[in-house]
Amino acid sequence: MNKRVLVIAILALILISAVIAQPLAGIAEKSAVGKRLVKTRILEKLQHLPKEKRELLENLKPAKLRILNALKSDDIKKFAELDPKHLEKIKKLKARHLAKLGKLDKQVLQKIADLPEEAMKKVTKLKVARLKKLANTKLLQHAKQLKEEHMWRLSELRTDELKKIENIDEKALKKLAKLPAPLLRRVVAELPKEVLESEELNEEDLEKLAEVPPEKLEKLKGLEPAKIKYIIAKLPRLSEAKRRYLIAKERYLLAKERYLAAKEMFLEAKHKMLELKERFRQASPEDKNKLKEELLDHAVLVLTHQIEAAIDRLEALKDKNSAPANVDEILAKLNSMLETLEKEDITAAEVVDIAKEFRALWIEKHKQALIRVIKNMIAKLERIIKRGETLLEKASKLIDKLESEGLSEDKVAKLRTALNRFEEDLQWIKDKVEKAKQSYLKLDQELAPGEIHKIAVKANKLARIAHRKIMRHYAFIMRLAHLYRALQHKEDVEELMADLPEPAEVSEDELGEIEEMETETEVEEEGGAVETEVTEEVSETPTELEEGAETAGGTECTEALLEMHSCTYDATTNQVTVELENTGALELVGFQIKLEYADGSISETESSESLIPGGTLTLTIESETKPETVTVVASNCPNISVALQCEVISE
């Protein structure tokens, strides 16, 4: 009896373990499927390769295998054609940087693969178009000795400017690369190569030279470096405030560029995944299994790029002191999500969980960040208004001084009238900011994300109007400074007194937009509640496939780059001519052109012209007076813009 019980018990145990083991084995098999299929797919594409190279690629981490698998066959071949020692280095790059290399042509990829490992890691952080630009010069060879921000600054130069300095010695190059981008550009564009290379001039000297007015620099640049040094020793140093700002701006631009590149990769991957999702839905049952694995790989890629974009955005906001509270904890959370996505055996359920968790986290944190930016913006506006008030007081004293220097009575009266108008204008801005502040102070965590975005758009409009107006104040004050200088040097002031800067006007539409916000605030104050039109989370977000379709054209902007070779103003024809070159790999369609004048006024126009990669384009714009600066923005890639100071070619 006991034996029977024992036998039955043993049989029962065997049966139970068999029943349990079956699904466990299934799970184990299922979890390995993802990785096996990624490898299988890669191997299919690489079966012609020698064993040594195939093994190198096979041993890549799953995240990198997924990146490779998402590339086109021709792009994979580019990697496969590299030497094993190059592949060994490339294996160590981050997945996102590997994805970037996939967008480069064979020659550029080879040049980057030739770099030492550390230099390769550094340059692959730059956006694709910058990489291509630098790879077309000998400057890429200096990547080991230069920092990432140095390489970024150099890639801000035009191709002809890069060619000018590509052969200078490394010591001189390092000195140049330490200059903030606008100063670097000025000295490289204006000074002869011999001066740039001279050991006589140090970094501070070059900074001073970059600040010298154009007509004076013309006199200096023909002199020997020793003489230049002797002369500029008497010039003021670059102000510390300006230096700090230039460096901070660069850091911000670099961080923002990283975010935009990651965002484009995310949108591109999302578009591909949505297409695959549609194919999966319509697939026959026998094809579904294979497609499901592929869909899982793509979903992991989408989430990886999405989280990387979020990390880059938070880093950029951190630099502007506008990140949401506990930003380091959020970053840690996002990095742990990335780690999960790196798992070989990640499941569809885990992917869905991460997608949901990220969405909830990001909507909340993005809202907090916007609130912080709006509050910082108001504080900044208040500071600017205070500075403006102080400067207008000083301007009044300066007019007194001009009077005592002998400026005629009628001219002094004209200046005082202008000053009064600017004082009234500043009061107008002050009132608007005060009203907006009352509205923004109501910002709290209860607002729906769509609502906060609506307020942010309005705050942006207010900031832009205030900016435009204060720029005119700045121009007026500068005019007073020029008048003072002219009087002291016994120069003619007639020209400086003509066309005095006036306060910038605000259109009816713009005024309506600001006042609409004020009215909304008042309704809220009176009624105790305000009806919100936008209650959905993201009011302007298109549905999945619509968005995919819409972003398809914009997803390649990382490949775009634009250069402005010249900007000239012909006073006889009243025409501004700009020479543009597409140095990227994407056709640029349409341009927005902004002309900024010395008095702070701005005029904007558009062009529907297209510019193919490698092509050049000349745009001509009518203008009554010479603009100080012209900025051109590509309509299909708004993050691609170039600006240049204009020179007069005919008086």
Binding site: Y230, Y245, R313, A348, W362, N376, I384, L398, I477, V538
Partner: protein
């Protein structure tokens, strides 16, 4: 003997005189024009003053740099406000793999 002595003295004197002639000239600090360059120096001084004057801002307008910095920072903050939360939506949910 006297002639010999005279010849030695003459030789010594010649050496002393010669070495005096080839004494190294006083070193000038790099970048400083020599006295013979004084007209050039005056020109350089004039150019230096001219450039410095063109870059001078009246003391009444001190603080313009800071205003310029603030205006640029305002522009950057304003551009942050146009950023939407469009990276929140991945398009992945339970229905994706069904």
């Amino acid at each position: 003997m006297n002639i010999k002595f005279l010849a030695i003295m003459l030789a010594v004197l010649a050496i002393v005189a010669f070495s005096g002639c080839i004494q190294p000239s006083e070193e000038k600090p790099s970048g400083t024009p020599t006295p013979s360059e004084s007209p050039a120096k005056a020109t350089d001084e004039k150019l230096a003053e001219e450039i410095a004057a063109s870059m001078e801002t009246p003391s009444e307008l001190a603080g313009l740099d800071e205003l310029e910095v603030d205006l640029n920072e305002l522009e950057e903050l304003a551009s942050e406000l146009t950023e939407t939360e469009d990276i929140a939506e991945s398009g992945i949910d339970e229905s994706t793999f069904e």
